[in-house]
Amino acid sequence: MSAVPAGIAAVDGDGFLGRFARRPLAVGSAVLLAVLAALALLAPLIARLAGIDPNEVDLLSRFEPPSAAHWLGTDEIGRDVLMRLLLGGQVSLFVGLSAALASALIGTAIGLAAGYWGGRPDALLMRLTDGVIALPLLPLLIVLAAVDLKKLGLPAGLADSEAVSLYRIVAIIALVGWTTVARLVRGAALSVRTRDFVLAAVGQGAGPLRIMAVHILPNVASPIIVATTLSVGNVILLESVLSFLGLGIQPPLPSWGAMLTNAQELVTSAPWLAIWPGLLIFVTVIACNLLGDGLQDALDPRASE
């Protein structure tokens, strides 16, 4: 292991990009995610161009099958399914990315602190990590999502707003999702801390923050990137589960999980409504996972060959 990040140093020649390009599944996943993200970002524009209001209720055209006007049909209150799927993608991808990044930040901070200082802080932080890992994740998320923010002193208008339902789910998932990155970073920090180049830097008077940022972080960049990519998929899955249970994203904001809330009753009357949102969740999550897997192999060739 060198002080130079493996991923960046190896870009030239048969380096990272070359190894990555040789993994069709990972490349395909990256392209797919890019297309999905672009479509989701452009969703409001597409809706305006097509002249469809994704929140417009039309009780006269409920459960319509796919047609020229509504490519994927309409839902139980006559809204266009395709437009809601695109907008829902915005929500799911936003939650996935921001919660994964927030988890990575918390995990990096905790891992660095534990690995750098060692001893008592390390023991304490790792006990905390073990404790969080031992918690029953799903029930705990349900409890956290059901907490009434008004009882925490938030004004009623704010507590029930769309934006808060969005940020709160990011916060909840980040709160329990940081453990993997924390362990990775701690391990790397422990092993790098005692190496000669770090000791030399300390001898030259570098402070803890500089050591962490310049000498330790570059060494763990690759595993952090991989873990975060994989956790984007996981977060999207968790968000969909919570929204499906009615505890995540609140209507009328569309989310892929929330679109399936009534799916169980719909399977007999309108099966396509139960299929599309789930398919998009599935495709997005598997693409994140395959991308993470490909990145892992490309960033760390020793692991595979």
């Binding site: 599944l25 006990r127 073990d130 404790g131 031992a134 918690l135 029953p136 994740l137 799903l138 029930p139 705990l140 349900i142 409890v143 956290l144 059901a146 907490v147 009434d148 008004k150 009882k151 925490l152 998929g233 899955l237 969909s240 589960v241 499906f244 249970l245 999980g257 399936l260 799916a263 169980q264 399977v267 007999t268 099966p271 139960a274 299929i275 949102p277 789930g278 398919l279 969740i281 599935f282 999550v285 598997i286 994140c288 996972n289 395959l290 897997d293």
Partner: protein, 321 residues
Amino acid sequence: MIRYLLDRLVQSAAVLLVMSLVIYALIGLMPGDPVDLMISADPKITSADAARLRALYGLDRPLVARYASWLQAALVGDFGYSRLYARPALDALWPALVSTTVLVGLSFLLALMIALPAGVWAARHPDGPADRTINVLCFAGISTPPFWLAILLILLFAVWLGWLPAGGVPTRAGAGWADYARHMALPVATLTLLNVGAYLRFMRASMLETLRQDYIRTAEAKGAGTARVLLRHALRNALIPVVTVVALGFGGLFSGALITEKMFAWPGMGNLIFDSIMGNDYNLALVALLFATLLTLVGNLLADLGYAWLDPRISYTRSEK
């Protein structure tokens, strides 16, 4: 070893204690309280009555005081009454625990029976077309939203083909084993499909790593047959990390089955936890969540013990880590 075990038991008890306080506080933050529910059930209750009822149930006392009295009772085995089930919370918990154990245990065994041989096989033929297919299928299993898989299975087997019931358990008196099995088929299949991918990938990765070791080459050079090398030399070592990971995840399976249980109306722990949280059934939610935590902790402990048992090189007598 004994010291280490005691240490771990104390640690687990501490996690449980902290968890109980956290859950207690969180549940207090959920919308409504038992008296609100009485008010909505009986519009004749005045605000003076409500205040009197809150005082009667101790709901006007500060959180810490309420938690202290709950803990005092809990330590002697009194977890209070379940509001939803109208019986002691523990009595409501047991049957749910039994049905979840049946569901989770069966799909756990099934998943292992598929994952272990398939993982070993994939590691023997790495990067072949079959291995690549298995790899993508594993990722598919890991990436499937549980409720969607349940919907697809219901759609296919219950709605279109009409072979299996869409959920529930046999309610008729004298329903035989066959009927029970028919109701279990879809939930067990869902859980198995969701879990098999992760196990398979661990088994494959671990076996691949083991097959690269020098002693495997030595065994092959000695002239040991493929089967002998795989089963006698490689498998035991390759199983060590797999046992750890699987045991670590085992406790989580009980609460992780929540969605599957909900989709198929299976009367297990997951459904009970969800209903008790949503129904403001404080006592039941607390004891069920604590039980779920306990199961995860026991899984972790078993993982450590299994590790030591499979790998004699590991010693826990010295100070850990």
